[in-house]
Symmetry: C2
Subunit: 224 residues, 2 copies
């Protein structure tokens, strides 16, 4: 079986992305990256639960503290308030405060290094363009340009490409896709604020809840 690395946070989108990689016939290796986000411990648990569900042998968790030290995001800076709507933030005024500068490029770069060493051909990431609050690194053009970069950036015998199976799906369609592929949605975690019962009001919770509602399915995780 050919190998693929899946970037997996423990959230809904990446859980369905794992399901897509497995469904595409890949031997999936999972890469989980902690970057000092508020709900890190809860996400770690979701990641481990999902990996166990899929009986994944090759998984790696990488802790990077630098995005937190660099700052600029309410997702990593505890003194900043997580917005309940997509109100522009202070530092990069055109984006929500939850934007973590160049986050996905940092994560993908780690995945690419690992892919070259283990000989994985694909890197799956659960980026979603429509529901991504305007984050530039969740758009298809970002992944197209990253793949252009990969075509010149690696050892001649390496062949690594990024795959974004849910990028054009709505949250509703991601929920439906997850159900269709038997993804363990009950093990996922999306809330940016809380670790035990989801807040239901942060941007991430709202998008998730709306997705389940439109799909006509009850979200199986607990809310406040």
């Amino acid at each position: 079986m050919d190998k693929a690395i899946v970037l997996a946070s423990g959230g809904l989108d990446s859980c369905v992305t794992i399901a897509c990689a497995v469904n595409d016939g890949y031997d999936a290796a999972l890469l989980h990256i902690n970057y000092g986000q508020r709900t890190q411990k809860r996400e770690d648990k979701a990641f481990d639960d999902i990996a166990a569900y899929y009986n994944i042998k090759n998984k790696m968790t990488v802790d990077i503290d630098y995005l937190k030290r660099i700052g600029g995001s309410s997702l990593t800076d505890m003194s900043m308030k997580v917005e309940e709507d997509t109100i522009p933030a202070s530092i990069l005024s055109s984006l929500p405060s939850t934007y973590v500068p160049f986050r996905n490029a940092n994560m993908i770069s780690i995945a690419v290094s690992w892919a070259e060493v283990i000989g994985a051909e694909k890197i799956y990431i659960g980026a979603v363009e429509e529901d991504s609050s305007g984050y530039p690194d969740c758009r298809e053009i970002f992944y197209k340009k990253f793949n252009d970069l990969l075509s010149v950036a690696l050892a001649p015998e390496s062949n690594v490409q990024i795959v974004t199976p849910v990028i054009h799906l709505t949250k509703k369609d991601i929920v439906k896709k997850g159900i269709e592929l038997n993804a363990p949605l009950h093990l996922t975690w999306s809330c940016y604020q809380n670790e035990y019962t989801a807040c239901g009001v942060c941007e991430s919770c709202k998008l998730r809840l709306k997705g389940f509602e439109l799909a006509g399915i009850k979200d199986p995780i607990p809310y406040k």
Copy 2:
């Protein structure tokens, strides 16, 4: 003054790159990245010495352990021998064993995150195409494609570009450029093997020594 971030290892090429950024009129912030390379402590000292020479206020050292954990390079894996010539290595057979998979992309990604937060416009990196042992991430095309990526990857108000002032220079010309710009070459460290007196036989030492020789200047650091 406009800000620029310079990726600085403590080596000859990045020292001259700092000199170029300063000479170009930028307020330079220095980013030093430890990735578990053999000569990390000695490079740390070189970095601090060079930063002090230029009286740099804004500097950051980031430790990333994951490239060492991911492996695949004799630069980070102590069980692999550093080659004395550019003999192909085992894992990625067409490149020297000192190749660290996708290393420069990992480093640049950290620099870009920091650049967005502090409002730096340029990222200087001392990559050298001709003397780079065939590393794909030292070629101009790599930086061109990375700049293409940056044009779509950031917040709309961010404008970050990578600058590679020594990419087409030979080691000889880098030494000459350093002398011309009063760069503190005596504070730099290049050896991949040793921390006190440079080995003189590893690939990096050989390239450096040849550069000084061709420039007609005595290398001011101690050799075995």
